[in-house]
Amino acid sequence: MPANDVVLEVNDLHTYFFNKRGVTKAVDGVSFSLRAGETLGIVGESGCGKTMTALSLLRLIPKPAARIVSGEIILDGEDLVPKSNKEMREVRGRKISMILQDPQTSLNPVFNIGDQLSEALGIHKPLSKAEKVVQAVASLRNVRVAAPERRLKDYPHQMSGGMKQRVIGAIAVASSPKVVIADEPTTALDVTIQLQYLRLLKDIQAETGLAIIFITHDFGIVARMCDRVAVMYAGRIVEEAGVRNLFNKPSHPYTQALMDSVPKMDRTDRLFAIDGQPPPLYALPEGCRFADRCSHVSDICRTEYPPVASVEEGHAAACWMLDPKWKK
């Protein structure tokens, strides 16, 4: 694939919170790139910085507590970090947009969905009222909402969770952005509805060549949806690989432990449980952040952060065990 296919490149991004406790390093040196039509999964547990990474990309981090301290976010050839708020308004929706976890709270309860769709459609190009209605109907049809003409006057409370999440999807892709960030979009949905929604996202991606960043804690979703995966732990990416490589050869002890702790449909042997908890992001250890919970830990892990080592083509992990210097 040619290099100009890259739509988004994140280089050494640091997003810190400054408060009474000191500095909370929510995102601490994250780099990745994304190609058109590709789905990148960002996997990790709560508090690992995956949502903060996403919000940093949209420049929607809580202010004034949080700040992008350093790094670049190059979307479609332009760095987003130095942009003003006014300039960002042109970028959001048109080039990058987001689908949030909870469909009950991401739509406005006092406007009908026709109005909310029209708002998204009209924000980047002036449209007449009639044009807006036509386009709103088309975009609802696009997300497979049955009888879209009749649903325009519906308010969010009249729709089911799955239906609302479709409307949110329609709003997200309304101005044909290059990148959509989906932050746990199906956690609030039932399994049969989740499957419908995941298939819908795949279909839309196939039609439009959209790049998707899928933020999740569910390896099942990763296996079903993603081309590449980045595993995050305590503010950093600890492993990145193509989806098959990651499942066939998880190389960071955290990835291995996380995969082993997920119950499987066809197995009932005892689950592997990771002891302890991630370190607080305002008091990170100097060495590897997983060291205290790792079963392979050695002295060097506690004193120095491990370098990123290549496991195989397109598969890298930050672990001392992969380093030539490693001896137990």
Binding site: V191, D218, R224, M265, T268, Q277
Partner: protein
Amino acid sequence: MPAELLRVENLQKFFPVTQGLILMKTVGHVRAVDGINFAINEGETLGLVGESGCGKTTTSKLILRLEEPTGGHIYQDGKDIQTFKGQELKDFRTQVQAVFQDPWSSLSPRMKVKDIVAEALVVNRNVTATEARDRVREVLEQVGLAPEAADLYPHEFSGGQRQRIAVASALASSPKLIILDEPVSALDVSIRAQVMNLLVDLQAETGVAFLLVAHNLATVRYMAHQTVVMYLGKIVEHGPTEKLYNDPQHPYTRALFSAALPAHPDEQRDEIVLTGEVPSPINPPPGCYFHPRCPVAMDRCSQEEPVLKDHGDNHLVSCHLYD
């Protein structure tokens, strides 16, 4: 065969749908639980799966006697739990306990851990302060928390630890049955395994029975001896977990299982995509409730309601396909 602990017979719970503010006219009923039968055995786990609105939580509330059934009975040792009063009811309350989904809202933020854990004992049994304190120490140790935890408040703990506190408070009165309503779904992946292992260990140690309400099929597979699949307030399939998972019979169970996500990107599976959504439980469709979404529906399914029948080895299915 282990002894039967609790039996649910033809249990129904309808919630009235009213219109108007002053003269509240009943215009229909939400048939949340619509005539279900099952039994929970001593020391075993019964898993209850289904999508939101299928009646799982209402069923568990009925068993906890937090709701009055519209019809049917729940028997404990041959006695209808609806008839319990006074001391008998207090005893029942110590024997059936619950752990809820969200440990952030299920523990009172203004009570110390020792008071939360001892509450069921103090309210329902006449225990001395020393007895209560000893028991608190004992159960905290059982769930893997340090004795010092007793004097702290819930906000000083992480999610996994809070869920351990919730489990400890359910255990304190040595119940025979604990209702687990989505006990791990609010927890992080790496913490879920800790809590699930803990629950399995506690069952082995104390012989407590669980009613596990969950939508995650793998969680139920891991913990439950028997599995019940519910759809729109009715049981569509019921059987020993292993048999039911290896050979699901009802078209809804099959669709539900096929919608579970793969464990590996190369895993091949036939995804059965159900069209539409669960119909309203106010006006359920005639015949089999599942027929409008069923990929193998026949004429008969829209007219005649199937009954739950044993198809050998205690595997019960409610579907015309197997008639």
